[in-house]
Every structure is written in structure tokens, then in C-alpha cells.
């Protein structure tokens, strides 16, 4: 019998119920040796839940779990790892106060009678990081790393042991192009070694690039399993949504008006942004493109008062801003949507309603004096939830129960809860499904028509290019170009990353 072609994992009739939702409903799933099997579906379809069942985090309520020909019962995360099932989770499972290598080995330390062999662990950590080509220092505390680097730690952690089944839940969401390429090379290598890979992503391009087969989930049910080369993008999206969605980006009519935001020579204490100037006008989307870590995110965070400023000035509605703090900015009509929704955006244990209205409780619509107006609050939040097509469409469950993409919608909903003229979007569509992305774009369109100025920071180039009226390009903490009209295209942006190198060296 050839192991190569055989079945690695077979799930039959998997059902998982959470209070109030049937997250998985009688799902069958098969993974072969040396296969990349993509899970595809809307936010909340049950992809992460299925992965959690496979990696032993949740037990299924019903269904058979057969791994390498043997039925497995009572799976725990520990048992799964020992069997060779390595998950990379969507929401990171790292300990912020521990170093990179401590995190890598968490749960399977090299130890004799509990006595740690630190030197061996550090050496192995260095080796695996070098093999992966990641730019990571094993002695750094994980809490001090950027999201992209934390993602790398997660991936390295999964590959540390002898992997038979690798699970990647939206792994590229915060990786650069180059890192993504390395990851795909790695996937190819593992595939050749007969490792089975389950891959979750919302990005059509990369799905077509890596997948052998695709299983589509919708509302907890398996809709179909198809060979990747036998379906088109539109067919796939249709399977996912159960309806036709034909455009990926809406047409946006920009009607640039007055300058609402004007940033001059901004430099941050951290040095992540140096002498950057840009402006945003009402009625248009201003894109800021750049590689992960180039400082574009810090730039908008600083404008919102979240990063210490060393020099330069920021003007809003022609008035210079004197004190940078989020509440003052909100009152002035500026709103920022963070990219790291768990760390900065949301109180996971609190209801959706409270998370949405959190930034607006000082408004008369939500509170009279210090007394909350619960009915009004509920109505306003429900309206916002409906506008964002939140799923499930209830506003009382805790945010922690929502799927990754729906959490993002809650963060966005916060900006709709008060009167805002300037919207700073930091990676607004990380992890949200194709249909929901379109909804976010449509939402931006609505905001524009109301006269808002939108600043869109995104590492996803197609998004910036298709939506923006003007595109700024940042590279290594500096603004290196402003593109308008026909100049807004991929080669022009990519050229900026390379062209600047010698000039910067000369300066």
C-alpha cells in the first residue's frame, strides 16, 4: 500500500454545537497524505471550529475521527501534538511575557525529569528559524513583536515537531509577500514529504496557488469538496455564499473636496515614522501602501494619539492638533480601526452591544448625563449590526463567541456609532470573507457619500490599488511616493520599494 495516496485523516458526521449555534452540522472531511486541502467559507461558517476539533481543542458532540487508520477518541491538544497534528491558530496562542524559544517549545520542552535543557532548545529554535528564513530573534519576548512576527512564531511552533498534519488558519493575513513566498515553498516541501495540510484562507489568489482540493463550508454544513483546478473563482464564491457575487471591488466615485487631515513632517519617538507628510480630503479614499513593518500602521496610530510623537504637526479641519489622545480625536471626528482586533479592539467577554457603543457613551444618544439609555443603545447597535451583516445577527452574545471575521465587523461597527468625518482604516479586511469584504468596501462608499475622508492602510496591494483615489507609498519609515490617476498600478508601487534603496543610502 502506498502511503502517499492514502487517507491521513477521515472525519464522518462531525457535529459541534455551541450554546445557540450549530457550528458544525454533520460534516464529512477527508485529508490525504501529501495534500493541501483548503477550507473555504464565509465568516462564521465553521472553519476554525472544524480545525479546533481536529487539533483537540474542542471535542465534537457527534462523529467519527479516524487518523492514520485508527479511530481516535477523547482527543486533547497534547495528544494531538504527540500524534503529529500541529495547528497554527487564527487567534494566536502565544504567551506574551515569554521569549520566542520558550514559546516554541511550550508544552514539549526538552527536559529530563522536568529539568530543562535550555541550550539544546535555543539551538533548535535558531535552526528552525533559519530553515524557515524568518527574521526572528529567539531571545525576544513575544509580546514585543509585531503581529507579523508573532505569526512567524506560530508557524515555527507548529513545525518544531515531527508533523504529519499541519493546520494553517489564515497564516498569510499578516505576512509580507516575501514571507508568503517562503511559506508556500515550505508548504511544497512538506507536501512532497507526505504531510497533509489543511489551509484556511479568504484570499482567492493564494487558494488557487496552493490548493489540491477545496472543501466549502456554509453555516456549519459541508457544501462540496472540489478539485482546485476544476473550479473558477466565481463558482467558488458562489458555492461559499450560496448566491452570485461577481465584483470583488465596487466602483467608487471619488469627489475630492476640502482637506480634512493634513500631516506635516511627522516623526515618531520610536523612529518607525520619519518626516512623513500626507493629507486626506473629504470624499476620497487615500491609500497608504507599503510592506508589513514599513511604518504605515504606526503613522495612522500616531495621528490618533496612540504612538508618541517626536516632531512635526497634524492639522484637522485646518486647525493644528495640540493634544494627541484618542478621546480628543474621537470628539474631533477622527476614528481609528486597529488591525489587531483582539489586543486593542475588543473586550472579548463583553457583549457585542457594549463593544460597539464603547466609543460613543459620551454622546446624548447613548447616555443622559452618566445614565445609560439602554433602549436607544440597543436600537442603534442593532441597526449597525444589520448594516454590517453581522452573523449571527444578535447583539447580546459576548464578542469572544464570534468567528474571527465577525469580530472585525464589531470593531468597524464602533466607528459607525458616532459622528465621524475622518476614518483611519488599518488593515480593515484582514480575515474577513469575500462577501463581507465587499460589504466593508460598500460601507466605505456610503461614508464617502456622506462627505467623509477615508485613509486606508493596507498590506494587501489589490485592495489599495482598486479603492484609492490617491496612493501614498511608504518604505522603511519614509513616504517615498504619491501616485495618482493612471500611475496607480502594481508595478509603480513595487518600483518604489526598490528604487529608494540607493537614494536612502546616499542621503
Amino acid at each position: 500500500m502506498s502511503e502517499q495516496a492514502g487517507t491521513l485523516l477521515e472525519l464522518t458526521g462531525i457535529t459541534k454545537r455551541f450554546p445557540g449555534v450549530l457550528a458544525l452540522d454533520d460534516v464529512d472531511f477527508e485529508l490525504r497524505h501529501g495534500e493541501v486541502h483548503v477550507l473555504f467559507g464565509e465568516n462564521g461558517a465553521g472553519k476554525s471550529t472544524l480545525i479546533n476539533v481536529i487539533s483537540g481543542t474542542f471535542a465534537q458532540d457527534k462523529g467519527r475521527f479516524v487518523f492514520r487508520g485508527e479511530e481516535v477518541r477523547h482527543l486533547t491538544p497534547h495528544k494531538a501534538r504527540v500524534m503529529g497534528i500541529s495547528p497554527v491558530f487564527q487567534e494566536f496562542s502565544l504567551v506574551p511575557d515569554m521569549t520566542v524559544d520558550e514559546n516554541l517549545f511550550l508544552g514539549r520542552e526538552r527536559a529530563r525529569f522536568t529539568l530543562l535543557n535550555k541550550r539544546a532548545m535555543r539551538a533548535t529554535a535558531r535552526q528552525i528559524i533559519a530553515e524557515l528564513g524568518f527574521d526572528l530573534d529567539p531571545t525576544r519576548k513575544v509580546g514585543t513583536l509585531s503581529r507579523a512576527h508573532q505569526q512567524m512564531v506560530e508557524i515555527a511552533k507548529a513545525l518544531l515537531t515531527d508533523v504529519k498534519l499541519l493546520i494553517l488558519d489564515e497564516p498569510t493575513a499578516s505576512l509580507t509577500e516575501a514571507e508568503t513566498t517562503k511559506l508556500f515553498a515550505l508548504i511544497d516541501k512538506l507536501r512532497a514529504q507526505g504531510v497533509g495540510i489543511i489551509y484556511v484562507s479568504h484570499r482567492m489568489g493564494e487558494i488557487k496557488q496552493v490548493a489540491d482540493r477545496i472543501t466549502v463550508l456554509r453555516d456549519g454544513r459541508k457544501i462540496a469538496t472540489v478539485a482546485a483546478d476544476s473550479v473558477s473563482d466565481t463558482e467558488l464564491v458562489e458555492l461559499m455564499a450560496g448566491r452570485k457575487i461577481d465584483v470583488l471591488f465596487p466602483r467608487i466615485d471619488h469627489r475630492p473636496g476640502e482637506r480634512l487631515l493634513d500631516v506635516r513632517d511627522l516623526t515618531l519617538v520610536s523612529g518607525a515614522v520619519r518626516e512623513v507628510s500626507f493629507h486626506a480630503r473629504a470624499g476620497e479614499i487615500t491609500g497608504i501602501a507599503g510592506l508589513v513593518g514599513c511604518g504605515k500602521s504606526e503613522l495612522v496610530r500616531a495621528v490618533f494619539g496612540l504612538e508618541p510623537i517626536a516632531g512635526g504637526s497634524v492639522s484637522l479641519f485646518d486647525k493644528e492638533v495640540s493634544s494627541f489622545d484618542p478621546l480628543a480625536m474621537l470628539r474631533a471626528g477622527v476614528c481609528y480601526f486597529p488591525s489587531d482586533r483582539v489586543a486593542e479592539g475588543l473586550a472579548l467577554a463583553r457583549p457585542i452591544r457594549e463593544n460597539v457603543s464603547m466609543a460613543a457613551l459620551d454622546l446624548p444618544g447613548f447616555a443622559r448625563g452618566q445614565v445609560l439609555r439602554r433602549t436607544e443603545e440597543r436600537r442603534a447597535v442593532q441597526e449597525i449590526a444589520d448594516r454590517l451583516k453581522l452573523r449571527p445577527a444578535q447583539i447580546e452574545p459576548a464578542v469572544g463567541r464570534l468567528s474571527g471575521g465577525n469580530r472585525q465587523k464589531v470593531v468597524l461597527g464602533r466607528g459607525l456609532s458616532r459622528d465621524i468625518r475622518v476614518f483611519l482604516f488599518d488593515e480593515p479586511t484582514v480575515g474577513i470573507d469575500v462577501g463581507a469584504k465587499l460589504e466593508v468596501y460598500e460601507l466605505m462608499k456610503v461614508l464617502l457619500d456622506l462627505g467623509a475622508a477615508i485613509v486606508l492602510v493596507s498590506s494587501e496591494l489589490p485592495e489599495v490599488l482598486n479603492l484609492s483615489n490617491r496612493v501614498y507609498v511608504m518604505h522603511r519609515s519614509r513616504m517615498v511616493a504619491e501616485l495618482t490617476g493612471a500611475d496607480i498600478n502594481e508595478p509603480a508601487v513595487l518600483a518604489c520599494f526598490f528604487r529608494e534603496e540607493p537614494a536612502a543610502a546616499a542621503a
Binding site: P77, M98, N103, L106, G107, L115, A310, F324
Partner: protein
């Protein structure tokens, strides 16, 4: 222009840089300790007296042991309010057990001592186990659980003694152990050094320490990484309870009687020692060597106040102020390093 004002304020901060740098190099706490001891040596001759020094060493040894246990619980993101009650209960139970066995077999002193010590340690073990199990399996907040067990343990101790000290422990236990001087230092010093070394070793060099930190740092992450979180939670509370019992046995041996009122301020002081040592109340962070230093600091401070004849009620107030100030300072430092706003 705003840029100039920003720059000048940064320059102003830079002027105090050397002090901040020096402090960073040796650390705030050791610096404070050195200053305090320096002042005492210079201005308070009674401080350097052998009798006084032994007293300080005995007190700080006791506090170090309790506080290192408390630290383990703080690191897993918990809280143990029951250490004071465990100390009281252990004292009574140890003394009673020794007295009773000695009465039954007056010649067999070593059996009596062994029996008493085991019974005493069992008090901390059981209380810790109950605390840990309630936190791990029932998911009750550590605050409520330990407040409850604290009340139970105090009640049992009072019930056993009616508030009267328990006498009748073997002389050997009191004279040759409790009040012993080994190589010129009081016996508890050696015990506390041994405990600190063990805890340090466990924390730094073993998987146990690793997991305890991981649980406090991110429970979810520890769980999905395959760590048996419930086991290590319970372990942390159990160790804390047992260390409290050990402290109690040392104190009881020195005193020569079991007392239901013995713990004094040790519960608050153990938490204070942790907080001053930079142990995070959110869990995940804490080093036993710093806890030892801050226990020493607190003991010397208390001693200084005694020597200066400061009213004990004022001392209690002062202790509270120190705790709150330590937490505030810690938070402030964190905030400044993370997201100081240029203003």
C-alpha cells in the same frame, strides 16, 4: 510650533537621565535597600546589635518563605489570602500533635516531632489543594476561594484551642531546632535560603516553572499547547500552602507554643513583597530573587520603624501606603515605557 515644545520637554527628561540609568543598572529595589541600610547603619546604632540583626534575619526568613509561595500563586494569575490562616492553623495543629504523641510515648521524642511536622505540613497541603481545585475545576475567583478557606482555617484553629496557646512540645524541638544558631546564624536563615534556591531552580530550570509562567501569561495558549493547566494551577496553590505551613513550623518552634493568632501581618506582607518585587498581579511575571530582596527590605523597614518607636497602628497604615505606591509605580513605569505620549 509644537515640534519645538516637544523637543524641549524631551531634553528636560534627558537631564535626569544619569539617575535613571544608574537605577536601571542596579535596579530600583536593591538601590532602595542599600540606601535604607546605609541610613540605619549611620544613624541608628541599635540596628547593628547582634540581637537586633538576628531578629531581622529571623523575621525576613519567615517572610521570604511565605512570599515565595505567594509569588507562585501570583504568577499563575491568582491570589492567596489564606496564607495567614494556614500559618495559624499549622501552628496549633503542629503543637497539639506533638503534645499528644509525646504524652502517649514520653520517650519517643523524634516520633513526636516527625508526627507534629507532618500534621502541620498537611494543613497547608490540604488548604492549598482545596484552593487550587476550586480555582481550576470550579472556576471560582481566587479571591473568593481563598477568603473562604481562610475563614474556615481560622475557625478550625480557634475551635481547637479556644484561643489558648498550646504548650507541651518537646524541648528538643524548641531549643535545638527552633532557637538554634547554626554556624553563627539563626536556623531559619538556612531554611529560607534552601527554599529560595529550590524555588529559583524550579522557576528557571524546570518545566514546572515554565508552565506556571505560561498559565499566568496566557491560559488559553498554555492549554492549546498541551499543558495540563489544571494540574499546575493546583500545584501552585498547594506549594504556596505548604510553604506557609513551613513558615509556621519555624515560628512555632521558636515561640515554643502553638498559637491561633500567630500569623500577624504575614498575609498582607507576602502580597506586598511580591508586588514590590515587580510580580505582576495579572500573572505571568515574577522572579523569586526579587521577592527575597523585597521581603528583606520590608523586614528591615519594619525593624527601623520599631527602633524609631513608631506606633504600630501607624506602621500598619504605612505598610498599606507602600503597597499601593508600589503597584502605582509599577503601572506608571510600564505605561511610560510602552506608550508615553509626546506632549
Amino acid at each position: 510650533m509644537s515640534a519645538t515644545t516637544l523637543d524641549s520637554s524631551r531634553a528636560a527628561r534627558g537631564r535626569h537621565g544619569w539617575l535613571a540609568n544608574a537605577l536601571r543598572k542596579i535596579g530600583f529595589l536593591p538601590a532602595l535597600l542599600i540606601v535604607l541600610v546605609g541610613l540605619l547603619v549611620a544613624f541608628e546604632p541599635r540596628f547593628m546589635g547582634t540581637f537586633n540583626l538576628f531578629n531581622v534575619l529571623r523575621n525576613s526568613s519567615a517572610l521570604m518563605i511565605v512570599a515565595s509561595g505567594q509569588m507562585l500563586v501570583l504568577v499563575v494569575g491568582g491570589f492567596d489570602l489564606s496564607v495567614g490562616a494556614v500559618i495559624a492553623l499549622t501552628s496549633v495543629v503542629t503543637a497539639k500533635a506533638m503534645a499528644v504523641t509525646l504524652e502517649a510515648a514520653p520517650d519517643d521524642v523524634s516520633t513526636a516531632i516527625l508526627f507534629g511536622v507532618l500534621a502541620g505540613m498537611a494543613c497547608g497541603f490540604v488548604t492549598g489543594l482545596v484552593n487550587g481545585a476550586c480555582v481550576a475545576f470550579l472556576r471560582i475567583s481566587p479571591f473568593m476561594v481563598t477568603l473562604g478557606t481562610s475563614s474556615i482555617a481560622t475557625g478550625v484553629a480557634l475551635l481547637l484551642t479556644n484561643g489558648i496557646p498550646v504548650y507541651g512540645m518537646p524541648d528538643a524541638f524548641v531549643k535545638e531546632f527552633g532557637r538554634a544558631i547554626w554556624f553563627g546564624l539563626p536556623m531559619p536563615v538556612y531554611v529560607s535560603v534552601a527554599v529560595l534556591a529550590l524555588v529559583w531552580f524550579m522557576q528557571r530550570q524546570t518545566t514546572v516553572g515554565r508552565y506556571i509562567h505560561a498559565i499566568g501569561g496566557n491560559m488559553q495558549a498554555a492549554m492549546v499547547s498541551g499543558v495540563n493547566t489544571n494540574f499546575y494551577l493546583i500545584l501552585a496553590y498547594t506549594l504556596c500552602g505548604m510553604l506557609a505551613s513551613l513558615t509556621s513550623i519555624l515560628l512555632t518552634a521558636r515561640l515554643g507554643s502553638g498559637q491561633a493568632t500567630m500569623s500577624g501581618n504575614l498575609m498582607l506582607e507576602s502580597i506586598a513583597a511580591g508586588v514590590i518585587a515587580g510580580v505582576s498581579l495579572r500573572g505571568g511575571v515574577g522572579r523569586v530573587e526579587m521577592v527575597a530582596l523585597s521581603a528583606l527590605f520590608l523586614s528591615i523597614l519594619t525593624n527601623a520603624m520599631n527602633l524609631l518607636k513608631i506606633n504600630s497602628k501607624i506602621q500598619t497604615i504605612f505598610m498599606g501606603v507602600i503597597v499601593v505606591a508600589a503597584v502605582a509605580l509599577d503601572e506608571f513605569a510600564k505605561r511610560r515605557s510602552r506608550d508615553a505620549r509626546g506632549r
